[in-house]
């Protein structure tokens, strides 16, 4: 396809290693300076930005939770007023779900999946850059709005009619709904990139039964995102229309439906939990395999469990609506499906246990976090089965029992594996090791602090303490436990502080990491730490699930790629047989301009519907610039 009449045949076949690396670096490297940083499409740079931004949002959300704990530590406290408290708990939930949990999992995948499947860049790299800028803009929108006392105050799921035009005065609910649009656009973009990367850009020979479990989990997660997120985009857009131009989607008096909101939101909201949890499953599987020195027990079962969880995730959203007044048969059905999700989750837990049982576990920090995950997640899963039962749920609905349950599931199920994953992949990403001693302390503090903070909340919930209250009377029997919880939160916060200090310190001055410090078996460890801009000097060829174990001497490689343009191998979906050499787009500033134009349109449209008309002009210009044929070799297929 590419004309072969070049003066010199610049393929990698006959070049020696030094010359090859020099030429690849000049083709793939991101230029220095601000312009280079703004126009880069390198998945590693964008992934790193994504991860750092998500952790900044984690820290900010954590500060909010400490503020809430300070207010709740004693009855009738005067630290935060009711209006501000409403904003704070809404911000905490919204920020943690939409700006931390989902993006950070995708960020890890943006960085790791191309490396794990042995390719040189993610598919649609410019879309990837666009998605990061959209995510950043959405996060800034939410936080700046909060800073000027316009933060959303309607809860993280913004039920109508509370969030509708009659009861939510001002622009607070609009900020929430539009922030959803930002994060969903960025999440959908990353999901599409990941699906294409996994299906079409795997290293030659890496058939579907040989891709790492983390890649499998991200593939399933991406499909979940693609199917779940449109529901919430419809819901949030309908909410903005109701509020701004007087449509009647959620107004029963004019033929709308209040329950429609809950159905649309939770049709997204429940798969959202698995969008956060399934990547964590992949991380846990990877870490368990490495630190027990053997492949994960029951690879096929694990993959089937991932897919089964993904499918079941769409069949149980109604369990969030048990007290909304639904037919009995519906409640029974969704009770059954909610309990059924424990089967694939249990299968995964037992597979990991079997792996540890049969392996030789090495108790390094990443593995400690995995063990912490298993303990906490199993407890969260147990209370999950409890609240899946309608009579019990009716009792504890909107109490601190539910708060305890979902923190056990989300922090245990996602944050613990994520912290383990950071300790695990930190050397690959930064080229430096994190401190093992501090890591153990951080784990100890976070694990202890987490359980001491959140386990008493079960009891508070059973004692009837409702969610979202900004204070309570001294006569209530809750003050002792609340003080205990608030003090324990300080331990938890100290653990996270230690983690952040360790990460920053190690990134600056940690011991230099070798290419494969953990003796792991997957492809990302086959290249240097951190990887060069082109990931691999020569395209690896894979013949097994553990390429670095089974080829301990040297990894077989494919050749024949041009080095004077960005080129990667496209392979078939199932067998990963090489199909074509495909060019990969180069750096471009247009994704940034497009994201800016979209940002202007979306924020403007909170105030007037005409923004959609006039705002589309700069957006059209930016997209035209983005897709304008440049006439360079990179545009050839």
């Amino acid at each position: 396809m590419t004309p072969l009449d070049n003066v010199a045949d610049l393929r990698d076949t006959d070049l020696n290693d030094v010359e090859l690396d020099r030429r690849l670096a000049s083709t793939w490297a991101t230029p220095k300076g601000v312009w280079g940083a703004l126009s880069t499409v390198d998945h590693k740079i964008i992934g790193r930005r994504y991860i750092i931004t998500a952790f900044v949002f984690l820290a900010l959300g954590g500060i909010l939770s400490l503020a809430m704990r300070l207010q709740l530590a004693q009855p009738e406290a005067r630290f935060i007023g009711p209006d501000r408290y409403n904003q704070i708990f809404t911000m905490h939930g919204t920020n943690m779900m939409f700006l931390f949990a989902v993006p950070v999992m995708e960020a890890m995948a943006v960085y790791l999946v191309p490396l794990m499947v042995g390719t040189r860049n993610i598919a649609f790299p410019r879309l990837n850059a666009f998605s990061y800028w959209m995510y950043l803009a959405g996060g800034l929108l939410l936080w700046i709005a909060f800073a000027i006392d316009t933060g959303p105050d309607v809860g993280w799921f913004a039920d109508v009619p509370l969030s509708g035009p009659q009861y939510a005065a001002g622009k607070r609910a609009d900020i929430w709904a539009q922030m959803i649009t930002f994060t969903e656009v960025s999440a959908l973009a990353v999901a599409v990139e990941l699906v294409v990367t996994v299906f079409k850009q795997r290293a030659p020979g890496m058939s579907l039964d040989q891709i790492p479990l983390f890649v499998w989990s991200m593939l399933v997660t991406s499909f979940l995102i693609i199917m779940a997120m449109p529901a919430i985009m419809i819901a949030s857009t309908a909410l903005i229309l109701d509020r701004l131009v007087g449509t009647q989607f959620f107004n029963p008096a004019e033929g709308g439906d209040v329950l429609l909101w809950q159905h649309l939101f939770w049709f997204f909201g429940h798969p959202e939990v698995y969008i956060i949890f399934l990547p964590a499953v992949g991380m846990v599987s990877t870490i368990v395999a490495t630190f027990t020195r053997r492949p994960v027990f029951g690879y096929l079962g694990m993959v089937m469990a991932l897919i089964a969880t993904g499918i079941l995730a769409f069949g149980l959203w109604v369990h969030h609506m048990f007290v909304a007044g639904l037919p009995r048969l519906g409640e029974s059905f969704f009770t059954a499906s909610s309990m059924a999700i424990a089967i694939p989750s249990g299968l995964q837990i037992f597979c990991w246990l079997a792996t540890i049982w049969a392996g030789r576990p090495v108790f390094k920090t990443p593995f400690l976090f995995v063990i912490g995950f298993m303990v906490i997640f199993v407890i969260g899963g147990m209370t999950g089965v409890m609240v899946a039962s309608v009579p019990f749920d009716t009792q504890v609905h909107d109490t601190y029992f539910v708060v305890a349950h979902f923190h056990y599931v989300l922090v245990g199920g996602a944050v613990f594996p994520l912290l383990g994953a950071i300790y695990y992949w930190f050397p690959k990403i930064t080229g430096r090791m994190m401190n093992e001693t501090i890591g153990r302390w951080a784990f100890g503090l976070i694990f202890t602090g987490f359980n001491l903070t959140f386990f008493p909340m079960h009891i508070l919930g059973l004692q009837g303490m409702p969610r979202r209250i900004y204070t309570y009377q001294p006569e209530m029997p809750w003050s002792g436990l609340n003080m205990f919880v608030s003090l324990s939160a300080v331990i938890l916060a100290a653990g996270f502080l230690l983690f952040f200090i360790d990460a920053i310190r190690s990134a600056l001055s940690g011991p230099v990491a070798p290419a494969n410090p953990w003796c792991a078996s997957t492809l990302e460890w086959a290249t240097s730490s951190p990887p060069p801009a082109y990931n691999f000097s020569r395209m690896p060829v894979v013949g097994s699930l553990e390429p670095l174990v089974d080829n301990s001497g040297a990894l077989p490689v494919a050749s024949g790629l041009f080095v004077d343009r960005r080129e990667l191998v496209v392979t078939s979906v199932v067998g990963a047989l090489p199909e074509a050499r495909e060019s990969s787009p180069g750096d471009s500033i247009w994704p940034l301009w497009s994201a800016l134009a979209t940002t202007v349109l979306l924020i403007w449209s909170i105030f007037t519907p005409w923004a959609v008309v006039w705002g589309s002009v700069p957006l059209a210009i930016a997209l035209t610039g983005w897709f304008w044929p440049k006439g360079t070799k990179e545009d050839d297929a």
Partner: protein, 199 residues
């Protein structure tokens, strides 16, 4: 080493951004929050507006401007006013704003002028031909909130801060659609309905 330095720069940038965000948050914390319970001295001052001797127009209290005219520009106060409109039965005479036994608010024709003080005085002290005085049934703050909402119903142009539609049957465009504007473009003469006997 070079890589270490660029990484250090990035981390520096990140922590600068973090500091900026925390700073923003702090500024927001210091900013005047939404008032669910207004300062008593400010409340007391709300009654001290001055009215022209003919009962039309006048000057609001100084503190009203110091607080940035909250009952006209604050969506929360306007939406409170909308609730008061229902709770105190304004609709019995004024309908959904189109008027019935009482005058309309939608046609842009103000018997006592569109100033806040006129509307506040109308609600507080009542007017001839049937408008009762609400001074003993509502607090002065509620009267100002209701007056702000009544003014919004017949606003000359769309306001950024305006109440949305109610979750009920829709009998006219919602307040944030600036319903009176179209009527004004045709000029006040042709569309002015019969307002009953003049004051």
């Amino acid at each position: 080493m070079v890589r270490g330095r660029t990484l250090a720069n990035r981390l520096l940038l990140t922590s600068a951004l973090l500091a900026l965000t925390v700073g923003c948050g702090f500024l927001g914390w210091m900013r005047q929050p939404r008032e669910l319970r207004t300062n008593p001295p400010v409340l007391a001052d709300l009654s001290r507006f001055r009215l022209m001797s003919n009962g039309i127009g006048g000057a609001p209290p100084e503190s009203y401007f110091a607080e940035a005219e909250p009952y006209e520009n604050d969506a929360y106060n306007l939406s409170q006013g909308k609730r008061l409109y229902t709770w105190f039965g304004c609709a019995a005479c004024h309908g959904d704003g189109r008027g019935a036994a009482g005058p309309s608010f939608l046609d842009g024709w103000w018997l006592y002028g569109p100033e806040m003080v006129s509307i506040v005085a109308s609600i507080r002290d009542g007017r001839p031909h049937g408008m009762p005085a609400f001074r003993d049934r509502m607090t002065i703050e509620q009267i100002w909130q209701l007056a702000g909402y009544v003014q919004t119903i017949g606003a000359y142009s769309a306001k950024v801060a305006a109440t949305g539609r109610n979750d009920g049957p829709q009998t006219r465009p919602s307040e944030n659609r600036a319903p009176a504007v179209m009527l004004f473009e045709e000029g006040p003469v042709g569309v002015n309905p019969d307002q009953g006997p003049s004051p």
